[in-house]
Symmetry: C3
Subunit: 213 residues, 3 copies
Amino acid sequence: MDINWIYLAGEWIGTAAFAVSGAMVAVNKRNDIFGVLLLAIFTALGGGVIRDMLIGDLPPRIFGNFHYVLLAMVCALLVFFFARINKDRFLKEEKHIEKINNIFDAIGLGVFAVNGARIGLDAGFGGNIFMLTTLGMVTAVGGGMLRDVLIREMPFVLSKRVYAVAAICGALVFSVLVRLGVSSVLAYGIGWAITTMLRLLATAFRWNLPKAF
Amino acid sequence: MDINWIYLAGEWIGTAAFAVSGAMVAVNKRNDIFGVLLLAIFTALGGGVIRDMLIGDLPPRIFGNFHYVLLAMVCALLVFFFARINKDRFLKEEKHIEKINNIFDAIGLGVFAVNGARIGLDAGFGGNIFMLTTLGMVTAVGGGMLRDVLIREMPFVLSKRVYAVAAICGALVFSVLVRLGVSSVLAYGIGWAITTMLRLLATAFRWNLPKAF
Amino acid sequence: MDINWIYLAGEWIGTAAFAVSGAMVAVNKRNDIFGVLLLAIFTALGGGVIRDMLIGDLPPRIFGNFHYVLLAMVCALLVFFFARINKDRFLKEEKHIEKINNIFDAIGLGVFAVNGARIGLDAGFGGNIFMLTTLGMVTAVGGGMLRDVLIREMPFVLSKRVYAVAAICGALVFSVLVRLGVSSVLAYGIGWAITTMLRLLATAFRWNLPKAF
């Protein structure tokens, strides 16, 4: 079996989920169609670009994988036209849509977290667990942070339920398992599952990290 | 004839136009003289720095071309002292000044869009039209986005009339023409004209891209 | 005598000071414990990461120096738990704390300014005073700018008393002295002292740079 198939499927699901989430935010902020496309692309692919800039893998690999940009654009256009045609439904069922979006987002977060760590591994940084974990986190939450900065929201990474922490856990578990000799595919699946599960549980049970006051 | 002369003239005009635009925003936001200088430099040169970081041309070429920084600083100081001496005129004629500024900005946008694509071409990415176009857009709008993020404005790239789209069109036309064998100087002029014209027309006729609602 | 000892001590003091400053801002903005850790790390280490990305020293050296991250995290946790346990004292004595923090911040600013220039020197850019000075400024104020953008404050670099200018002066003096043949350690100490003194004096005497109006 070609194990790359799993990585590829994961990346497509993650990209689509993050693009939908970015486009929905952009529509809600009353951006024009270009703004919707740009925010979807930033959300879906921004984390990977930052990761590639950090490890010096330049130009960022996204420039050689136009189909991810295309996928993000298609998702953004679907959201845009759905919102345009069903304005009332979009606004009325926003909470419902957000719930569905949250599930996709949790899946995307898991994929991107382990995938960032895996790319660090492939780039030869396997001896540095701290770096692999950071690359996983950056890949997973970097795009969302860019989006939040651009639309002038407080990046929810800083205050929202266990979001970056879930990404860190998955990337860390992946990195440690691979170091311990576990097969890369198995570690990939376990890390992905941990991040996605943590995030879904945190949403369902309204987990929050403690604040000072 | 030395064709580099045209590129050079374009870069000087673009840098000056963007620096003036950045400095005017900074003065309006009541920044001190250092803030005015910094925002002028960010607006004029930030897009090129991001482009160089993306293609791994490090350190960014601006570090070897101090005269561009100097030009941006001179423009910023001119704006600063003009505003300081003619406070009333600056505030009263703001709309008038903004109109003039818009024209320079459109010229700068055109130069920077084709120039970003040309630098990508020189760096050996001629086979990747998507990348050349993106580099052109980043060069043209990156500095303005940095400025908007720093002064906490919604980046107008996301919502303002055909701004980034004009840059994309010019960079795309340049990239395609060069690919088709058109001489680089001619393609440069055509791409530049397209971006600048689109932007001026969009301002004059208040074109906007559609919104979802 | 091992002169590296001085550089190391400086970096530890600077990192700790900036981490405390970032963590205090994060606590005040009601971020959760992860947000406090992240903002402390960004404030303390973000400037160095941007510097390394500019000179192409990738991955940024911070990935090979986990103890700086650890130091920033310990400082952040101390601030977090101090604030959690002494909420009333934290809020009541905020001004007092801010004063102490300002002193540490001035020390950190000085270290980071000369250190950024020194790293540029070691990377072979000694012939370019403009670049060394810029690298010093970026190292010193980059982390704070990132923090301000993330928490949606106007970066005080743009409007606050002689902050970036103090960093520029120290980095410039260091770069020029080294160029003139002064020993690197002596230049380091002088540059550091100049930045820290300028900043402390600016705070004490409420110096501000002129505004246009």
